[in-house]
């Protein structure tokens, strides 16, 4: 392999690692980013229409780790789309991405899981109750003289020697609890997104020439 082919190989390798890390974006947008960075790397590293391997290596190093670069693209794009669509899936994805970067993100992800989990269980119980009334409910069972166990949700068969507590009330209760959990979690996460967008430049890594002396 000659020098130019080796340099091109290095560019391809870098972009092939970047592309899957961008997969949370719409395909056209991710392809566009890859195409733009390819153009950038070629422009930076070409000398007399020939790619210079050392310049390619330097240019790739300045773009940085593909996962870090991808997350810089994703955070802003997902944040913007999450704000306009209020989609729980986008918000969850954003929280998951954020959790890889900060402690606050881990907190947001935990809240997102529990909040949307509660919403799913509440709404699920309410919606399924009319179809399989015997298998949806909240059961209480005395497992030991001083130990009570609860079981909520959908079961394959009602647990033996357990008492069901809610009956048909599980429908209004599930709807109300589920809706509140859904709305509160979405509201909390959108608040986080707004806050993130206010401080998003905090991680910005840049410097003036002559710095560090």
């Amino acid at each position: 392999m000659n020098a130019a082919a080796r340099a091109e190989h290095a560019i391809d390798g870098y972009l092939e690692r970047l592309r899957p890390a961008l997969s949370a974006l719409p395909a056209a947008q991710a392809d566009d980013i890859v195409k733009e960075l390819r153009s950038h790397l070629i422009d930076t590293a070409e000398v007399d229409n020939q790619l210079d391997p050392q310049r390619v290596a330097d240019a790739i190093a300045r773009l940085g780790d593909p996962a870090t670069l991808a997350s810089a693209y994703l955070m802003d794009n997902l944040a913007l789309r999450a704000q306009t669509t209020r989609s729980p899936l986008l918000l969850l994805r954003l929280a998951a991405l954020w959790a890889t970067r900060s402690l606050e993100g881990i907190g947001a992800l935990v809240v997102a899981f529990f909040g949307y989990g509660t919403a799913l269980i509440g709404l699920g119980c309410a919606l399924l109750k009319p179809f399989t009334p015997d298998r949806i409910g909240l059961w209480i069972r005395q497992v030991a003289p001083d130990d009570i166990s609860y079981q909520l949700g959908r079961v394959s068969a009602p647990p033996a020697d357990a008492r069901e507590l809610l009956g048909w009330y599980i429908i209004p209760l599930g709807l109300v609890v589920g809706a509140i959990a859904f709305a509160a979690t979405t509201r909390y996460l959108l608040g986080k997104v707004r806050k993130y967008r206010r401080i998003r430049d905090r991680d910005t890594a840049w410097m003036m020439p002559g710095d560090g002396t």
């Binding site: 980013i33 195409k35 070629i42 300045r62 810089a72 802003d76 430049d201 910005t204 003036m208 020439p209």
Partner: protein, 124 residues
């Protein structure tokens, strides 16, 4: 000298914050007189504003400003043999950079009063 390493560190942190704060203004303003592609913008910022912005910061920022409607983008076939992605200000972006520049001018001229006695030799 009385200042120790922690002083320098505090000042450096503050400088980083200031630069981050003006990054969006500087990038938008660089597009005022016409379209640029990413590498051109990086070179413009270095030569005209003495600002070296990391590529890994600048390209995602361009993408955000594009998605946000401040910049529009188009692919242009170049003599170089590969296409380049050019960005230019949208009308909304133009309005934003005017507002930000107005604020910046007023802000710096206001605090100049207070800064004047600190290093008098810098006075314009």
């Amino acid at each position: 000298m009385s200042h120790g390493p922690s002083d320098n560190l505090a000042v450096e942190r503050w400088e980083v914050q200031v630069r981050k704060g003006v990054l969006e203004l500087v990038v938008l303003a660089a597009f005022w007189s016409g379209r640029l592609y990413g590498l051109e913008l990086i070179r413009r910022l270095e030569s005209d504003a003495k600002l070296a912005v990391a590529e890994g910061t600048l390209y995602p920022l361009l993408s955000r400003l594009h998605v946000d409607g401040q910049l529009e983008a188009e692919w242009v076939e170049a003599d170089a043999g590969h296409p380049r992605k050019y960005y230019k200000l949208t009308p909304e972006g133009r309005r934003r950079v005017v507002k930000m520049t107005r604020f910046w001018r007023e802000f710096t001229s206001n605090i100049d009063e207070i800064l004047a006695p600190v290093l008098p030799e810098y006075k314009r």
